[in-house]
Symmetry: D4
Subunit: 253 residues, 8 copies
């Protein structure tokens, strides 16, 4: 509870300019303040969109949620929206962009600047099968106002491709590295650059991969420092987390 | 390969001021440059100490490594140093600080400013048994030049203690959350603040805890966004990763 | 074997009023008594319905079992009945209520009082995807005669919603907490209230969730006391177990 | 925040009988009230002791915590105290009882009635190796004021022993069943009685037992209803949970 | 190599009554004799049928294999044959019996006595969902010439049903116990009888059952002696193994 | 309840030759008869010794249990007795045999015939490290009155050694196969012989052996029929189970 | 960087026969040489085909990739191509061979000699269900220019079949052994031959096989030396690895 | 059975130059020939030493085995011999070399040439903690007559060190790569070279490393071809397997 405002209320009560009932109501409204202030802060971070998790929702449910959010916010992102639902939503709300690879829908106010931060986030991925997760991460970061550099298909089996892009990776404020199978790519990148890495294991692979467990354990046990790990296939989480680091680079218009 | 320097070399070869053998040697030394430049950059980040991993090293080995590093660098940190070895090193190098809880040794040049960044990193931990990991994270961050606020013993079993410190957590640039047993604390903190969280599961617990697996899975599956995960008991990794985020807040003296 | 009745039989044998063959038959019928008495007691607990497990049964099988039970008992509950089967049964037995969320069918004698206990059971769940399990628990408890307060979508990612309902939870005789993903909610609730909690992990989640293993381990390792755990997705078990605690609050009409 | 008390404070402020500073202090102290009231309630439940978790604490630490608690409370329980520490504490505080099997220390005010509830809790265990966990559960329940009936060594390998005690089990308000190896006992008991069972897997066994995993899975998958499960070896948790059910049977002196 | 027959051959060579080429052929045919004799013995055990594993075979493949076997053997059993394939085979070979529960096809020579052993094998199963595995075991044993007593739906949740059939189980030469979920039934039966038990875990269950792992671990860790374990769902293996024990009870016609 | 004895009691009651109180006592003693008869049968199987599980018992405890058993039975076997305890017991009871490899103690009445069955049990083991488990199985079978043929160190890495002993294995009534590491031996033996095999995985191995899990899974998944599996390292269980099969071969003196 | 060529360049610069700009370009092109030389070497190994991984690619994608490769290389192999896609590709490119068992497509220049190595690789498999993996390995080795001897259906359950082919296996330069279920075959072969074995576990099996985990662990723990292990179902990897060993036997035309 | 020799024997029998008894003996001795010939071949591969597995053997046992082997063979290798045992053996047999890092003992005839193959095997390891396993592999290969190039401490966290040695690795006939923690090194090396790699995971690491499981899964799932995998910590196996590939490069003296 903020002491200053209590001061004011109490003074007004003493002075008789505030009725006891109104004072009670005001003070009671403080109760939730520890939590509520958080949500207010969230809205104050312009550019951070509202996010709709599409899995398990029908196209119609997504449409009505999105339409409602479009009235009160500048950016709306929906994730885990498969093709069929994606195109249904797109038909209903043509101004939304559907990214079929990332399985995302995105909308922003026409006069909203897309990129509002300096620098960029690098999104690196090992193989073409890891693309959906990498794209989910990239699109999420873009929807939150970041510029993104995509560096795809640079897995350790052909490590020279990675070195070709090393400067681009080193110069990013933060790098998201997405890899399935043995998931060794974050370790290699982590040994080469000095900015933070957000590692995302994917469930791509077969046999002893055990739906991504192999890549997950690899990343957690990385001998390189400067790597933190997301849940398997959690592209959105990686994009969001990278933004929390990147947001210090806000452009002042 | 840096084009400018190749220019210079080639011109000197053409002009006869540089022998072909010397030119060959110089050009060959560029071979590793893609990698070497990294290490030079590392040294340029003043305040980032050299780190010695003490596990499996004898006290004498640590002493000689540390003494050697003290000649060429401003800060030296050694981790995973148990009491017995810690006090042996301390006896040999009295200017080192031994932190028995964190199992770390630290030394800096007397004229080196300890804290060189604005703001602070919050280190939050659930129970007293998680202290060694939390302290390792905290001491690491401090050794790298950060100010740290410790907020300990605020596990979800007595969640009001956590709320008492909520402002301190929200105002940190980044928060390390350390928890064993069920590892629920990062999820709760993640639902309350909007800065990035580095979650560290510990192996504290028994039975179906399976040496930290329970806490690890909890953190990876967190329903709150803004949480990335370290390996079980990896306090150093968390401190280091937090610094990679925090280092944007460098104080300009 | 009850001594009194043996007494009577033996006396009658001695007195010749009972033939040895009849005595033998009577005594033999005691053999199973240790077990049989249990079932009699079950029937004596008025309000506890007969339960039909619908999984793997056809609609017709469920219909014939339910019709048979309706003749001899006051309440019939069927669980794990999917929509298609549910509506088939409903068509055949219109007086049954089908709850499509909980996948349950319920019927009671028209003159049977629904709620026969004082107080209520709280059913708390973390996310909307956990609803089917939570509803199965809630409907089960109601079918057994309890009043239920549903407190849904109060996961730890937005913990202020939980606090809003804290009094309702504290005042319940017993609280069922249903959560998937990281399953941290029971730990948080357990740190706030002092009545028993029945925790149910759900298989909701992805990646390192491993079909509910993550939430299950979280709940088993909870640092809060006062929490016991059910199998993954076992809403019925939770509702039934809560009733075993709640049944002390029987209303005496 | 309780409206009544805010009323009083505000009225006193208006009337000038309470200074604004004092009012501020009072209102601020309400901040934590959502949580604090819980702890007050805890203390109001006479008979519920303060509990000290002995693992990882030295004998001296336990002694000083216990001595401090003895001043402000009527009952003190310490768990996971091994023989060596137990006898050290006992020497320092002779009025404490040390139970070497359960690894617990207990003390109550001399004039405090030990058992303050009607009926009893049954503690059933499968084999003699499960005794420490069973005893921890039993001693915990007793420390909290319950009467306990111990029914030990009645594992399914000699199921007739179990039947001998069936009435004792059926008549308990709640039954704690402790079993290692295959952990089948709770299922068998659960098929025979109609009161709630708290099942505790132990880590007793070898080979494919995997430190209690086998018994844990058995209990979670029990085909008998009315069973909830604790973490492996968590005797204290079982005793505490049983008390939460049993506490409705408070004796009114 | 059997010395006697070598003797004969060598003598015939010496005596010139056997050409060297023929002798070579004969001796060469001994090469496999260590293995071949086994197959001859197999055929000598009248009543042991040829077995066809139907999984992954088409109906036509099964038909042609069976027709071929019917020419050279007295009994043919095919397992893991689903309904569709089963009825196709039945149409082509009407004298085969298809058991849709057990997913087996069986044929014997019309003049072959079905049961050729004294006594019987008991097949006990816990729940109705375990029936397919139990039936596979039972039909297998019958196809091999045993008499089988089926004792179904006697799981530990209603243990009095088991006791009703205890004599039948005790009098069997060997008992197959099939159970899913927690798989406790073999332990209970094992504590009651003194003949060997073949335990078969099934994949019936959900949640922490992990496709039969729970039941498998339970059976391996059984505290009762006299239990051996088959792979999950391996009804055929249990029937076959039971026969290896039962075959000592051959009737001499 | 045995009808004949009830008959007699009832007749005596009717005839007045038995008092009602005594009749009651007699009939009450029948209560446990379903279970008790089992134990009587156990004693009637002469040659089956009482077994003491030594793990977790002190030498003195073992001594007093054994001395007590020696008064009422003909054979006493103690398992899991390490060297130190074994020699202590031997000193106290010199007539016991201590087998340091098998970690067993055995005693029989001097006039008791050791082997009371025809034929023999084969105990086959893969490597010398598997010897303790193999010996525990062998000594157990011998203690129960069987003749045992030991065929050791015939692992699949040198499969010709196995073939050397194939006749010995084929001629056994039942074969116990003990193997660690990959545990392939039972599969190989199972493909060669036609009598039942009791497979025992051992925890011998390292790395991905996971304390015997590898061998356990191998044996459960064996493509050869006629193999049943014991818990890891359970030599006693294997010896006991083999005896249940072998006991049909009782010699009639 | 190759010193010789630097020499030449530098000399030409000094001599003025090479402009500094051209020299710079040449030297810069060396940057990637550490990696690039590898790919050149790959192409120089005539007979090693380009490989297309068909999983997740459409028939049209495969067609266009293959057509493009056919212009620049002598051999093209595509793996993991199911029947439907395989026949579509075959229709478009009739000169490709589709192997439906192996799920591979292969093409070579008409004038390219198929087999370019002396000796042969043996591909051994345990059961008919393991055929697809074995064929993938065999076809891969053939596509790379090896001669292959297929020895199928020689699992340990009928080990005499294996011995029949022992000479063929011993004489191979390298042997690929494919097995599912318990995966014991490589151990047995490894105990009999002295050339290297490449073991491939398959996911064939059920129950405690856990999708190939059982066979994988068996092979990793093999007590026979001379066995290395591939991922579950990785036939291509085995064929490729065998070729790396076999390629020393190149025929010089 | 070799037809030629049978021919000869039979002819001699017919001719009377060979007695039937002797012929029988000769033919019987063929029985084991399938196996025996293998061992003869083994001995014919000069340079392949006899190997003693030291784990679980006493120093005295090792001494007597080694002394016995020294009489009949040219090279003796003992593995898994810890320091204490190693020095005891060394004292008894001073001509043996003890390698304390590799935990091996080695002896060869003084006139035996150490290296008998052309080219070399590369042994690469990631970190200093992996040294014992790498050394075991290297010493094994040397004991078998290979030349070995050790390239240690080139883990992916500092990948430029690896590139420094790339030519050495590429030029080896076969490369053993040893790595703990996340085990990514074989994937990186596999992407750079074209000769076969034998990957050995080590148990070095902590937390989610699970005693080497993490590195093992990484290696099995490697996206680079040309990698086969050994059991965790199996340095000997890797050295032996590499020799099976390397042995084609025998020097002809």
């Amino acid at each position: 509870m903020e002491n200053k405002r209590i001061d004011v209320i109490l003074n007004e009560v003493r002075d008789g300019t505030l009725s006891i009932d109104k004072a009670k109501a005001l003070l009671s409204s403080f109760e939730d303040i520890g939590f509520a202030k958080l949500d207010h802060q969230r809205q104050k971070r312009t550019g951070f969109p509202e996010v709709v998790y599409g899995e398990g929702k029908t196209a119609n449910q997504i449409i009505s949620i999105v339409l409602s959010l479009m009235k009160s916010t500048n950016r709306v992102l929906a994730t885990r929206v498969d093709d069929q639902k994606g195109y249904q939503v797109k038909e209903a709300i043509p101004e939304m962009e559907y990214n079929s690879e990332a399985r995302t829908l995105f909308w922003k106010q026409p006069d909203e600047t897309l990129c509002i931060y300096e620098g960029y986030i690098a999104v690196v991925c090992a193989g073409t099968s890891d693309l959906p997760v990498a794209e989910e991460a990239a699109v999420t970061a873009e929807a939150f106002g970041a510029s993104v550099k995509r560096i795809y298909d640079v897995g350790v089996a052909g490590i020279h491709r990675l070195f070709y892009y090393l400067d681009d990776i080193e110069n990013a404020t933060v790098t998201i590295v997405v890899a399935g199978m043995e998931g060794a790519l974050p370790s290699v990148v982590g040994g080469l650059i000095s900015n933070p890495i957000v590692a995302v294991p994917t469930s791509v692979g077969y046999g002893a991969n055990f739906q991504g467990l192999s890549a997950l354990l690899t990343m957690l046990n990385s001998c390189a420092s400067g790597i933190s790990v997301m849940n398997i296939d959690n592209g959105f989480g990686a994009g969001y987390y990278a933004m929390l680091i990147h947001k210090n680079h806000r452009i002042n218009f």
